[in-house]
């Protein structure tokens, strides 16, 4: 993303990433701690960033293409941090993220999120993205790229919220 300063990136095959659920927690905890050290309250900031990042990673864990590289990059843009997930996608994955992108533009996103959060039965597959957009006030961009790739970017301004 323009003007951002890359801080840290983790890259691996999507099969490796999706082979172990704990990767979501471990990657989110590690990256959040790494990039939060020079924020006003590093522990509080890391806790918030880890929570948001984990939701994005859990979404990517469940919805991705069958093969190719997976990367998670965190960049800085002043008071904001930008998380970028770069993942392989197939038609089904693309449709999933297109639906998500469309839902994220709806009015009363908080209402949609809270309905999804407390809905009976199977959880709404977009729940994590909705949470990041509503509770963490992230600006989320989902872009299909050449070669069956997809980029999901979330810009989070947690500095004020964490101070």
């Amino acid at each position: 993303m323009r003007g951002t300063k890359p801080l840290v990136e983790i890259s691996m095959g999507i099969e490796a990433f999706a082979s172990e659920w704990l990767h979501c927690d471990r990657i989110s905890s590690y990256l959040a701690r790494m990039v939060s050290h020079n924020r006003t309250d590093s522990l509080l900031y890391a806790n918030l960033l880890s929570s948001a990042l984990n939701e994005l990673l859990e979404t990517a864990f469940a919805h991705h293409g069958p093969e190719g590289n997976f990367s998670c990059r965190v960049s800085r843009l002043g008071d904001s941090d930008v998380i970028e997930l770069d993942l392989p996608c197939d038609d089904m994955t693309l449709a999933f993220y297109r639906d998500a992108a469309q839902r994220l533009t709806q009015p009363d996103l908080a209402g949609i999120y809270h309905s999804a959060l407390f809905s009976p039965g199977k959880p709404d597959p977009h729940l994590g993205l909705l949470e990041v957009a509503v509770d963490y006030r992230a600006r989320i961009a989902i872009v299909a790229e050449k070669g069956n790739r997809l980029k999901l970017a979330a810009e989070l301004t947690l500095e004020g919220a964490a101070a």
């Binding site: 172990e20 659920w21 704990l22 979501c24 927690d25 905890s29 050290h37 020079n38 006003t40 309250d41 590093s42 522990l43 509080l44 806790n47 918030l48 880890s50 929570s51 984990n54 939701e55 859990e58 809270h114 959060l117 407390f118 009976p120 959880p123 729940l127 994590g128 949470e131 509770d135 919220a161 964490a162």
Partner: protein, 389 residues
């Protein structure tokens, strides 16, 4: 598939409180079954108000959140008379916001953020009025501690945590003079932390992380620091053993924990020794009434031993009016009088006669401190111990 059981759950029947702490990020609802069963069993035992304490739940994903809230919803449907209070903390940042919609949906659920109730009697010491006292105290004790800290094992290049850092001036002095590689300084007072960050910025210090947190339940991983300090703080918590347990936990095996505490009734001065002694004996009683033990200093060895430490080293030193400018000492006593007699004694409901006599002892110590032939002293116990490898 690995299941990460990094959460702790417990039920206290007497308080009707179910506490979940740690991290809950399961992949499937099946992994939540043991916790759900424990929560269901606990709910079945209570009447009136049930407390779901998530103050120290650091991480929670939606799988776990939905499992917990589904269960709470079911109970609310079948037992409308039961009140459920979800207890969150601002230390975690996300939890109040996450649980509040539950209270909006279910009339018998409330969500409360309880940060001011961590420690009884703390409000006197956490507000801005105490900053001048802390600043002056550190200035006076540093003359002694700068020599004591290396003796207690602090070496350049170490990673240090200063827990209950207050206004952060001790961490700044340690950083400047004793050159650790990094300091994490934690406190529960936002006023103090704001001040600490401002001072650090003014001095261009970037190697200290000032963080908000509860010393008795820190969101810091185990075995992180070579040297952990906690000064003048165990004595103002009603359960110091909880803090020590945390200091032990975050210290690396082989690292040391360093604590300082007072025995306030041993503050002294001459001339007018009798009046001074009476007042400080009353100071100790006053703090005891607010569940703080300002007589803890000489008990340091016992506390450290009981917490599982080894190689315990206990020193004591006396801060006196001879440590530099006697006016600094006098200013500290005046600040004590303002808080102890001006606020705490008044809030305890002491009579004007008592408060007048109580104040006189402080004034007599100031007299002794500024008297050309006088002597005034404030004794401190500095103790450290090693975490076994």
């Amino acid at each position: 598939m690995s299941i990460d059981r990094s959460y702790q759950a417990s039920f206290n029947e007497n308080n009707q409180e179910f506490v979940i702490a740690g991290k809950l990020r399961p992949q499937s609802e099946d992994e939540m079954r043991p916790l759900a069963e424990a929560l269901t069993n606990s709910l079945a035992q209570v009447r009136g108000t049930f407390y779901l304490n998530v103050k120290r739940l650091a991480r929670l994903n939606n799988v776990a959140f939905r499992a917990i809230t589904n269960l709470v919803s079911q109970v609310c449907d079948t037992r409308p008379e039961l009140k459920i209070e979800v207890v969150t903390s601002s230390v975690m940042g996300w939890s109040t916001r996450k649980f509040l919609p539950l209270a909006e949906r279910l009339p018998n659920v409330t969500v409360n953020e309880y940060d001011n109730d961590f420690y009884p009697g703390q409000s006197f010491l956490e507000e801005g009025g105490f900053i001048p006292i802390l600043r002056n105290q550190t200035k006076l004790t540093w003359r002694h501690e700068r020599h004591l800290l290396p003796r207690h094992g602090l070496k350049p290049g170490m990673t240090v945590a200063d827990i209950c850092c207050g206004i952060g001036d001790f961490a700044v002095l340690v950083q400047k003079e004793l050159k650790p590689s990094h300091i994490l300084a934690l406190d529960h007072s936002r006023t103090s932390l704001d001040y600490a960050r401002k001072v650090a910025a003014e001095f261009g210090i970037t190697d200290i992380e000032y963080v908000y947190g509860d010393a008795s339940e820190m969101v810091i991983e185990d075995n992180q620091f070579d040297f952990v300090t906690c000064r003048h703080s165990l004595q103002i918590f009603d359960r110091p053993e909880l803090i020590l347990k945390e200091l032990y936990r975050i210290c690396k095996p082989g690292g040391r924990v360093y604590i300082t505490n007072e025995k306030n009734s041993h503050c002294l001065g001459e001339p007018r020794g009798e009046s001074i002694q009476w007042t400080y004996t009353e100071v100790a009683k006053l703090f005891a009434d607010f569940k703080m033990d300002v007589e803890l200093g000489p008990k340091s060895r016992r506390y450290l031993a009981d917490a599982g430490f080894e190689d315990i080293l206990v020193d004591s030193f006396m801060v006196t009016n001879g440590d530099g400018d006697p006016q600094d000492f006098a200013n500290m006593i005046q600040a004590w009088e303002n808080v102890f007699a001006g606020e705490m004694a008044r809030d305890r409901g002491d009579s004007p006669e008592f408060i007048a006599r109580f104040r006189q002892g402080f004034q007599d110590q100031i007299y002794a401190a500024l008297h050309p032939k006088g002597y005034a002293g404030w004794p401190i116990w500095a103790a450290s111990a090693r975490k076994p490898t």
